[in-house]
């Protein structure tokens, strides 16, 4: 049975096979305690990402790569523009979402791998990695099994699994 695709507001992206579409992102920083200086970093950035694609952002230091990445995760808040993400079959615009909706998108659809892993120092790696699954209601044993399989695939030595990632 065919299901109706409900498109969001008129600004939604035209093609539907893409999974992410950033439209005209503008982002600047205002440093209130350093003379109120304004730093424009993103000026009208647009990007479309399709399934199966690996997109590399390349550029000199300070060109806005990290700012752009963090904006795509809604970690940084853009001044204007849309970040369309295909979440559970529907387009959602991250800046327009409420907090609980954004949390859901991050739990189910959008992941972020940072070079700076911020973890609680005392928790074993296998538990750190299992936590997002536990938050989705997955059983503890099943979550840990999934994590162990992934760790093996990613060639993480087994002797490190019970240690904190800060080791």
């Amino acid at each position: 049975m065919a299901t109706l695709q409900v498109l969001p507001t008129p600004k939604a992206p035209p093609q539907t096979q893409a999974l992410l579409q950033a439209d005209q992102l503008y982002k600047s920083f205002v440093l209130h305690h350093q003379g109120g200086v304004k730093l424009p970093v993103l000026e009208g950035v647009t990007l479309t990402v399709n399934p199966g694609e690996c997109v590399a952002l390349q550029g000199p230091s300070g060109s806005g790569k990290s700012t752009f990445m963090r904006s795509l995760y809604a970690n940084y808040r853009v001044d204007s523009g849309s970040i369309w993400v295909k979440h559970q079959g529907r387009w959602v615009d991250l800046p327009q979402l409420e907090a609980h909706q954004l949390i859901a998108v991050r739990q189910h659809t959008l992941g972020y791998v940072s070079q700076f892993l911020r973890v609680i120092p005392r928790v074993p790696a296998v538990d750190v990695a299992a936590e997002p699954l536990l938050e989705l209601g997955v059983d503890l044993d099943e979550a840990q099994t999934t994590v162990r399989e992934l760790f093996s695939r990613l060639n993480l030595p087994e002797r490190l699994w019970q240690l904190s990632p800060t080791t």
Binding site: F29, V30, L31, H32, H33, R70, A74, N75, Y76, R77, A99, H100, L102, I103, R118, I120, P121, R122, V123, E131, L134, E135
Partner: protein
């Protein structure tokens, strides 16, 4: 998703002093909301107003109860409010001695709450108390000891057990790790994190410690002089601070 708690334009005045000025926010199930502010910002007053410990002048606090009825907490009768606070809500006090009964044993502290909600079987009560001591990582052998023989950290964990035994849906916490040394704090925060997840708790957590909110809170609100701002996801507020006060706070933190 239906919000669990809606606070709309809550205002609390002491004469001309606006301790809480038009505070509005929504809390959803399973969310931890942190409120950060310096001393005198109004955060504890806000928590006390929401919990009904002090009256407030203006605004609405609406709670969706376990049986799906919308309750206006301001107009709720006192007996109903007290029943709610014992069954669906919990309040963790900064000083555990204020939240515990020091003259009865650890087991009795937990069991008392079960008696409050009609449990009468001594065996069941004792079993449940033992389970909860285990849950908060207090040795079960301490069940018949008095809380004044416990360390500060253990007292705080006992307070948690006492509050969680009735399976509340919302827990209000006022500086729960204040006054505890760092390693004890760490243990308590780890415990709270896993309990929030396993019990699907919603928490409103008042603190002045950024490390605590980074670890526990999904969302963060900042309060300054009775005013609320920056009610977004914790990482959004701390990694991309917009408001001058937020920037000041983040820059002043010793540990990033």
């Amino acid at each position: 998703m239906q919000p669990l708690l809606t606070v709309n334009n809550l205002s609390k005045y002491y004469g001309n002093l606006r301790a809480c000025d038009l505070i509005s926010f929504t809390l959803y199930p399973g969310q931890v909301l942190g409120i950060i502010g310096e001393s005198g910002s109004g955060k504890s007053t806000l928590l006390d107003s929401i919990a009904g410990h002090i009256p407030f002048e203006d605004g609405i606090v609406e709670y969706c109860s376990r049986d799906n009825t919308l309750l206006d907490l301001r107009t709720l009768s006192e007996p109903r409010r007290r029943k709610l606070m014992k069954t669906e809500w919990g309040y963790v006090r900064q000083n555990p001695r204020d939240g515990l009964r020091m003259t009865v044993t650890a087991g009795a502290n937990i069991g008392e709450r079960l008696l409050d909600v009609g449990e009468r079987h001594y065996g069941h009560i004792r079993t449940e108390a033992l389970q909860w001591l285990d849950e908060v990582e207090i040795p079960q052998g301490r069940i018949d000891d008095f809380p004044n023989t416990f360390s500060g950290g253990m007292q705080q964990r006992l307070q948690l057990a006492r509050i969680l035994v009735t399976r509340p849906r919302i827990v209000l916490m006022d500086e729960p790790t204040g006054g505890l040394d760092v390693s004890v704090q760490a243990k308590l925060l780890d415990l709270m994190r896993s309990l929030v997840r396993t019990l699907n708790l919603s928490v409103i957590l008042v603190t002045h410690d950024i490390g605590v909110v980074r670890l526990l809170a999904h969302r963060l609100m900042l309060m300054q002089i009775g005013q609320l701002f920056d009610a977004l996801l914790t990482d959004q507020v701390l990694d991309d601070p917009h408001h001058p006060y937020t920037q000041q706070l983040v820059n002043a933190t010793l540990i990033p």
